[in-house]
Amino acid sequence: MSQQSKINAPKSVSGPVTWLDDRTGLANLANKKFLRKVFPDHWSFMLGEIALWSFVILLLTGVFLTFWFKPSMAEVEYHGSYELLRGLHMSDAYSSTLDISFDVRAGLLMRQVHHWAAILFIAAMMVHMLRILFTGAFRKPREINYVIGSLLLMLGILEGFAGYSLPDDLLSGTGLRIAEGLIRSVPVVGTYTSFFAFGGEFPGDDMIPRLYMLHILLIPGLLIALVTAHLVLLYYHKHTQWPGPGRTNRNVVGEPFLPIYTAKAGGFFFIIFGVTSLMGALLQINPVWKYGPYNPSEVTAGSQPDWYMGIAEGLLRIMPGWETEVFGYTLSWNVLLPGVVAPGVLFTIALLYPFIEQWITGDKREHHLLQRPRNAPSRTAFIVSLMTVYGLLWFAGGNDIIALKFDLDLNWITRFMRVLIFIGPPIAFIITKRICLGLQRADRERALHGFETGIIMRAPSGEYTERHAPLSSTETWKLVSHEQYDRPELEPAVDENGVANPASRRSRLRSKVWAFWYDDDVTNVSREELEEAHSHTDGHHRAEGTEVEGADEPSELEPKH
């Protein structure tokens, strides 16, 4: 109360605020560090926010759609405004989707904004995940948050697929048919699970109401819970930052949550809302009225899932038709491997990567400073090879559209992909690693010899040289401050009693993996090398008016090992 009178707020404001504060203690919370949380500024730190805000847009538009959508597979005769389907028998779900599109004011806009926001939601989660992986932001203490993020991505994909299936048009039915095939391909339990999920033979009458429950209740509930946990942990850990002068593992340099960051994040929400609204207004997405009601005997060219299921589609499309018969039962490898096993393996690799890397390095310390992708060459190369797998499968999932639009042979695209899916990732790994190592060498060169001034000097002997000028300490710090790992010590093959040491074999494996992962890295510039190089530069090529500031803070320039 006394605080309010001090700042002389008008009574109309101070009254309700005080009332609220007396009952909730919110002002106390606001005064604390909570709202002064610091966020560093970098464009790549905003990618997760795209996902967050598209999720908010999904909730808003989704609520609108639930007012008119009827999650029922009961057969009705369509009598809405879309002439080309009038009088046709269809499910209530499809009929109400048509009504939303043609007879509900702003219904089509909301449907399209919802769909575009869904596409952005998952795409943003994925680029956000790539940023985390490329910069090493998943390292201790953020492993749990990484796992939560991965689960969010997986749930987001499931949520998207459930939404894609709800309109009960030809495309969603075709997608469900594939999902049914994937379930059935699981040995022994597949058929039972399929009958359980669909309430009998496909398509049955139960699937749409069940998916609706998953789509608007269960999965969004889980998503909201996990998003909250994700953000709470983000607050708790504080944001990571790029290395620079004055930035350490024990501080965060950036702007406070209130007011600057709030303004930026809030403004960003409106920009994202604007972009999705523009896309919803201008770009047609999923014209359900053209697909027609689902009918198991129909299918259309250009039947694809939304992009995030594209790799599952691609895997199915390039898989040879292998089947085995065991005791009169067919094992459909052609569906089981690409539809169930391969996506599971890919997802598990992505989920476990932080723990795998931790095992290789043996690093149990906290990290709040990010790594430049080039300073972790093998990791960067590994992620690029995973992206290559993803991209190739994506491409394979759209093979018919590519064949049609680029006048290519469909079968040859498939054959090409069958080979490339195995040789592409190693090639991508090697190329990326070489690029990273080249950049590391260039960095080392720059740190030791300064930058090229473009000034050509001619010696009395006639020799031409380019003058190099030393970097500022800020620049140098960015180039030389990153850490490198030492090869883990081998456990002795036998313990002190001369008995074979069971830990030895594991430690040798770890050492070998370490060597593969880190041996090629360009050794970081040491303090001695830097001092030596600077004294050398001082004597000969020091550009006029340039101060070597790095010498003032030798302790900061020392790379930590």
Binding site: S44, L47, L108, I271, N411
Partner: protein, 279 residues
């Protein structure tokens, strides 16, 4: 009268009676034949001239692959240079030539649609020539494919037939689709109703034949009516720019490039304009 019949009856054993009856019978049969029997091709001089013109054109433009008598040509390797055209009918010639598919510019997986090389009169002559070689489907009359006055019920029925029989290759929006080994089902956007009708009749290239027993002429017209209305209904397109009407592949492409691409540019802009950034 009685007198006449009595006189005829009296002379029925006359030696010339048989001859008279024979002549009478022949006369009646000949007269009936002249009025009832189909007229031979030679009867129509104009048609004969058309066929002759068509034959000339055929010998110049088509015979190198299809043979001088349209009997087809086999390569040395046993593959077909050009199929025999006897019995394909005028509809096939009209479809292939007036959509520019024939003559082919080069061999390939499939003859693509291009600007026609022959005028309408020349096409007619070619069709007449090929039709004269053997019976086959004739060029449909304008009222067969006139979809303008199709009722709503007929259009909806056409849509059901379309989704059941056609979308698997031609795509839900008639945007076309890929087929094995470099072949494809072409886009039907902007295609003449007559050509759609003929295509269903003759099953050109990869397309199956939808004979009148399989799909009645009325149903063919209904399918055409649906496709044409689908096209007209797109003006303006509900929902905005259709992204090629190719389904989720192009939607994903736009989502990534326009959506994520655009928003990443915005993130760079937002973080580049902070309170701390000095210009």
């Amino acid at each position: 009268m009685r007198l006449l019949s009595a006189r005829l009856s009296a002379r029925r054993r006359h030696p010339l009676a048989g001859l008279v009856v024979l002549l009478l019978g022949l006369g009646i049969a000949g007269g009936l034949y002249a009025t009832v029997a189909p007229k031979p091709a030679e009867a129509n001089a104009a048609q004969q001239e058309l066929v002759a013109d068509g034959r000339k054109l055929f010998l110049v433009g088509c015979a190198s692959c299809h043979g001088k008598n349209a009997e087809g040509i086999m390569n040395a390797s046993g593959s077909q240079q050009g199929p025999p055209l006897i019995g394909v009918g005028a509809a096939a010639v009209d479809f292939q030539v007036s959509t520019g598919r024939m003559p082919m510019a080069q061999t390939g997986a499939q003859a693509p649609r291009k600007d026609p090389l022959y005028t309408d009169e020349q096409t007619e002559a070619l069709a007449a020539f090929v039709a004269s070689l053997g019976p086959g489907p004739a060029i449909p009359a304008a009222e067969d494919y006139d979809y303008e006055d199709a009722t709503e019920e007929e259009i909806v029925r056409g849509g059901e037939l379309w989704r059941t029989n056609c979308t698997a290759c031609h795509n839900f929006n008639a945007s076309g689709g890929a087929l094995p080994d470099g072949k494809y089902a072409p886009s039907l956007v902007g295609v003449d109703a007559k050509h759609m009708y003929e295509a269903m009749q003759i099953g050109p290239q990869q397309m199956p034949v939808f004979s009148d027993n399989v799909m009645t002429p009325e149903d063919k017209r209904n399918v055409i009516a649906y496709v044409k209305h689908l096209e007209q209904q797109d003006q303006p397109n509900p929902g905005g720019f259709a992204l090629g009407s190719l389904g989720p592949v192009s939607e994903g492409l736009f989502g990534w490039i326009v959506g994520i691409g655009g928003l990443v540019i915005v993130t760079v802009w937002i973080t580049g304009h902070g309170a701390r950034v000095k210009k």
